[in-house]
Symmetry: C2
Subunit: 117 residues, 2 copies
């Protein structure tokens, strides 16, 4: 396995194959807010140039992210979510909800989270 495109697998497994990697998810999440530049992403995600470069290539290839080159003054590149990328927002929202319950910054519950029972 570990193939990027395994038609045999059920849709959810294929989704996971595409988006189930730390950096891809982190980068996608980071681009939700607004389009960003390479070094901006590098700083905000903490990924190394090499890794970020690869991840952005992958995400572009898969159609989640698009690259915009601004040739005006000092050439600048911007990365944006495509429609396909944007379409992942609900997934991130769900992860966020989960995180709020299970990974609250101050309290890290080991058992059931005490969410106003």
């Amino acid at each position: 396995m570990t193939a990027e495109d395994n038609p045999d697998a059920c849709p959810i497994v294929r989704s996971i194959e595409q988006i189930g990697s730390q950096w891809r998810l982190v980068v996608l999440h980071d681009l939700r807010e607004e389009e960003k530049r390479f070094n901006e992403l590098k700083r905000s995600t903490g990924a190394s140039s090499r890794t970020l470069s690869r991840v952005l290539d992958d995400l572009q290839e898969m159609g989640f992210v698009s690259r915009r080159l601004e040739e005006d003054a000092p050439v600048a590149t911007f990365y944006t979510l495509t429609d396909k990328g944007e379409s992942l927002c609900p997934v991130f929202d769900e992860i966020e909800t989960w995180a709020d319950e299970w990974l609250a910054p101050e309290t890290e519950p080991e058992a059931e989270p005490a969410t106003a029972d």
Copy 2:
């Protein structure tokens, strides 16, 4: 980064650090339906013994999965989602919804998915 527990990161990034890996997600997803045995998971996920073993260890350590050893007849191990593991269901549901729209088995839309507008 790539640390399993980075308190500085925002909750969603910390979530991604925990669950953002192909095998972890695939195994968790596979356990949604019902508790499963080691070799059952091995077959259904396609992971190697080595990988599956590691992933299950990780998931247990993080409290997503619990191991039940049935010593009765021929010793059998069962892996189940904990409450924490179950709590990820909405995330998988969301991924499933996304997959339906963007990774439909027969049609792989490159542009906007035609979901009965």
